[in-house]
């Protein structure tokens, strides 16, 4: 048995030791894996990517969306195919709803020379009106730009220390889950932050992901978010493009409700853009066989390359007129 004072001293020594070990672990972790800053791993990874590899002042083109933005638009192809796009960054986040994309666009202020936003989406992104909880755009902007004050940087690392088990699990599953380009959870970014998938038809994506169409439910609040986003972009002098992505053609032919949903979506967006001067890029008109699809709505690298070139053409056409 120890004297109470000695006991406390020893106890605090162990607490201090634990704190130091955890700080060391988190520091090491942050060099290899994305720190848990947001509640989406793909956003954490993107913030880390921009912080470490991108000069935000150079960015003129921002791609946003869910996985439909992450996988279906390749920033590197846009840069090659368009004379207008010099430096693109893909800020899309897996599973982002339209309202969440609206939140993501609050990060656009981190890129002071932004000229255009490309929202890559599909009607299947529109059924939910949910938002991110605990979303702190100001913090994320500063983190991306390496402008965090010492106290804020401490807060980011301290919060990660509270998530130590989470960090450990993230590190453990990172290679297996996020570094294989033949999986839908792939997070190996190209130099613009896009994620080209190497999933081809021959690999037989199983179940409904390939053959069952999304229900045609679309939430009014999602369209309202598009209205707000395009309006705000116009007010800032930023061109807003909405790329309505390609859907597997056999499903469009087989299910009239899919065709109906695609047409309804385009009509709604066109109506919004009449007011806000956005540009709709309806990509269903591009013929893509199943060889270009990773599943019903996601494209593989080949498909994303073709679609990105199509988007580049529209950008050229639109901005050359202005």
């Amino acid at each position: 048995m120890f004297q109470a004072k000695t006991y406390i001293k020893l106890l605090f020594f162990f607490f201090f030791l634990l704190a130091m070990i955890s700080v060391g672990y988190v520091y090491d972790f942050s060099k290899k894996y994305p720190l848990p800053i947001t509640n989406r791993i793909s956003l954490d990874a993107k913030l880390m990517f921009i912080k470490n590899k991108i000069n935000p002042d150079e960015i003129d083109t921002l791609i946003v969306g869910s996985s439909i933005g992450l996988n279906n638009v390749l920033g590197s192809v846009l840069e090659e195919a368009s004379s207008k796009v010099k430096h693109a960054i893909n800020l899309s986040v897996y599973e982002a709803t339209t309202l969440e994309v609206e939140q993501l666009l609050k990060l656009a202020d981190a890129f002071p020379n932004l000229k255009r936003i490309i929202y890559s989406t599909q009607y299947s992104d529109f059924p939910h009106a949910k938002k991110y909880q605990d979303f702190h755009p100001k913090l994320y902007r500063k983190y991306m730009r390496n402008e965090l004050s010492l106290s804020k940087a401490f807060k980011v690392y301290f919060n990660a220390c509270n998530n130590l088990l989470f960090c450990y699990e993230r590190a453990k599953s990172w290679e297996e889950k996020h570094m294989k380009d033949d999986q839908f959870t792939y997070l190996g970014f190209d130099h613009t932050g896009s994620v080209p998938l190497e999933i081809y038809r021959k690999e037989k994506v199983k179940g409904g992901r390939w053959s069952a169409p999304h229900p045609g439910i679309m939430h009014g609040e999602s369209f309202a978010a598009v209205h707000r986003m395009s309006k705000q972009a116009a007010q800032k002098g930023i061109k807003f493009y909405l790329a309505h992505q390609h859907y597997r053609e056999p499903l469009v032919k087989k299910y009239p409700k899919v065709e109906g949903a695609l047409n309804y979506f385009d009509r709604k967006i066109e109506k919004i853009f009449q007011e806000t001067h956005g540009v709709l890029i309806a990509l269903q008109r591009v013929h893509l066989s199943d060889d270009y699809h990773a599943d019903r709505s996601h494209l593989n690298r080949k498909g994303a390359t073709i679609i990105s070139k199509e988007i580049a053409k529209v950008i050229e056409r639109t901005e050359s007129k202005e």
Binding site: F2, A4, Y7, L11, F15, L18, S22, L165
Partner: protein, 419 residues
Amino acid sequence: MQLANTIHHRLKLSPKILLTIGITFNLLLLGYFKYMDFFIQNFNRVFHGDIPLWHIALPLAISFYTFQQIAYLVDSYRKETKEYDFLNYTLFVTFFPQLIAGPIVHHSEMMPQFNVLRNTFKHYGNIALGLFIFSMGLFKKVIIADTFAVWATQGFDVATSLNMLEAWVTSLSYTFQLYFDFSGYTDMAIGIALLFNIKLPMNFFSPYKASNIQEFWRRWHITLSHFLKEYIYIPLGGNRKGEIRTYTNLFATFLLGGIWHGAGWTFVIWGALHGMALVVHRAWQKLGLRMPMFFGWILTFFFINIAWVFFRALNLESALKVLKGMFFGEMRIPALLGEYFSAVKTLGFQVGNWSKLYGSETYMGLWFLAVFIIVLFLPNSMQLKEKFKTNALYMLLTVCFSLSIFMLYRKSEFIYFNF
């Protein structure tokens, strides 16, 4: 108190009127903040009205400090208070470790401690004990309660229907979540208070070991039970006015206890169920009937578990969904158990694919086994507190429990913050 004396002498108001004004003021505030929307909802329902809800933000801990203030008022009226220092009074009402979720403290056990000179000095023994109790509470909350919280939420808030086993997993998960969450918070409050040399009263004493409902209420939220007894049950007449009146008083006390917990019919039902159970228990005792302790425990535990369904459910529909699953849901046996009990197949139960809602049956099974062992066979935190010594074992335990702080990623609030 000086203010009360001034009012008393200048306005010639009797102490009873002053007491009535004080209690009414406190209850009106509580009613306004906590029950206004509930009242409007029911008014609209009964009179087909269309009054919009007020959505008033609930001041943190209002239920707790309202109780404490009423107790002080009543005891002042009874001339049982000794301490009238305003600073000490405000410290008693707002003492931060226990302010938001209890234990509900009584002025007679708190205010005298504020004046003890010895308590103003650093006391390493208390710091060591406080850190031990605090870390244990943290462990209970972060590791145990938050694990079960995920399963309870899945069953109550996500699933649209539940099979029998899923429904039992859901209800038992909440039963354990609530206990470890609330008692964990209490431990943390007791631990923090000890850092300031203040001793808070015990609030839990292995409640799920209770073999009857009366014993349960002597072990669960002890400070609330004490308050209900002293300030509701006894003033209503307690057991001094005949058997029928005793039963009525018991029932009314717990009905009010249910309403205190929240503004909703599910809380009313929960309170009524406990009131009825206490009435039945008392009648059973009066008739001289006895039950083997084990059966008593089974009956008590399952009753409490079922009653918690109403306590947790967001509405009656959700409660009935879980209860329907518990008693009439489809019976599916996990493959693991099916292998050992082949007879279940002959009874027509399906084996395997027991749940679409929950993951690994082995993982969940181990958790349930562990918590049953903890709540039934291991010493509780108050017993450990008594045994505490400044030795290597308790230091190791403190450090190990403190590791929970690295697992705070499952953000969740303390359940009793809502009350």
